[in-house]
Symmetry: C2
Subunit: 163 residues, 2 copies
């Protein structure tokens, strides 16, 4: 229906700035993975950290369903931007389409890298040392930004370089 109407606006610097701010401020995300049972989507909550230049990282357990799903199929999505107060659809948010990459165990031994994550998410110190927890990186394929009602943009990874 309405296939003739394209609500996606041309990408401009305002859109790039909103997306960059959402990435920089991201602490939590809704992670979509390919459910091994249905091959359809499954959405769960993770904590994330942004390391600059569009690089988003999480630390998740091999025991969790989303990690098992990512081990089978790296295609995933992150919803970034919290609902906040008032009308939940009035707040900017973005759908990140990505591929997840498991980082090698030495990422946990990298003091600067791990320290940044732990500083942002102090509660994760409780299980940081557990061997079933690993860092993962999300390689961004595409971003669908929704800056509020009627403000839709599609961004490429290069648009996030300033983030």
């Amino acid at each position: 229906m309405n296939d003739k109407i394209n609500p996606i606006r041309p990408t401009d610097n305002d859109a790039r700035a909103i997306a960059a701010a959402l990435l920089r401020e991201a602490r939590v995300a809704s992670l979509g993975t390919v459910d091994p049972d249905t091959q359809g989507p499954a959405v769960s909550r993770i904590v994330v950290a942004h390391y600059g230049a569009g690089r988003v990282v999480t630390m998740i357990s091999d025991l969790s369903l989303h990690t098992k799903a990512l081990d089978k199929d790296p295609r995933c999505s992150l919803l970034i931007g919290e609902a906040g107060k008032g009308d939940p659809l009035a707040h900017p948010r973005m759908t990140v389409i990505a591929n997840a990459v498991r980082l090698p165990p030495d990422a946990k031994a990298d003091e600067e890298f791990a320290g940044r994550f732990l500083a942002l998410h102090p509660k994760t110190r409780l299980y940081f040392g557990f061997t079933d927890f690993s860092f993962w990186r999300f390689d961004i394929v595409r971003v669908d930004l929704n800056g509020g009602f009627g403000k839709a943009y599609r961004l490429e990874p290069a648009d996030l370089a300033q983030a």
Copy 2:
């Protein structure tokens, strides 16, 4: 890894009660759909309403990417339960695996049905009358409940009947 460890606890009445409360209180959800471009997941934000007995409904626009995705593939997922204050992973939430069903236009003419949605989401009155907006129902296939660190349960639709 760790395939021998099953962290899913047996479903009990406490788990059913937590899931029922999350459904009853749900106002916003992260919706996972099958992205038509990548066939992988795409996660976006929607407003939802619970109509009892595990029946969850939304109203979305045909112009939006998630609606176009659901028209092509009804498999979807809802993350229900907000991150709240403090540690975002300390708050109960659940991954709902579902199939989305577009409701006929007369759902918008059903005063009791539509009125309930509009009462819960007064801001949606702004575009309720737009012809590109339709109601959709989510038929629940399975629920993965996370009641907090280490409290994982898998529930069937029957477990939500009390909701």
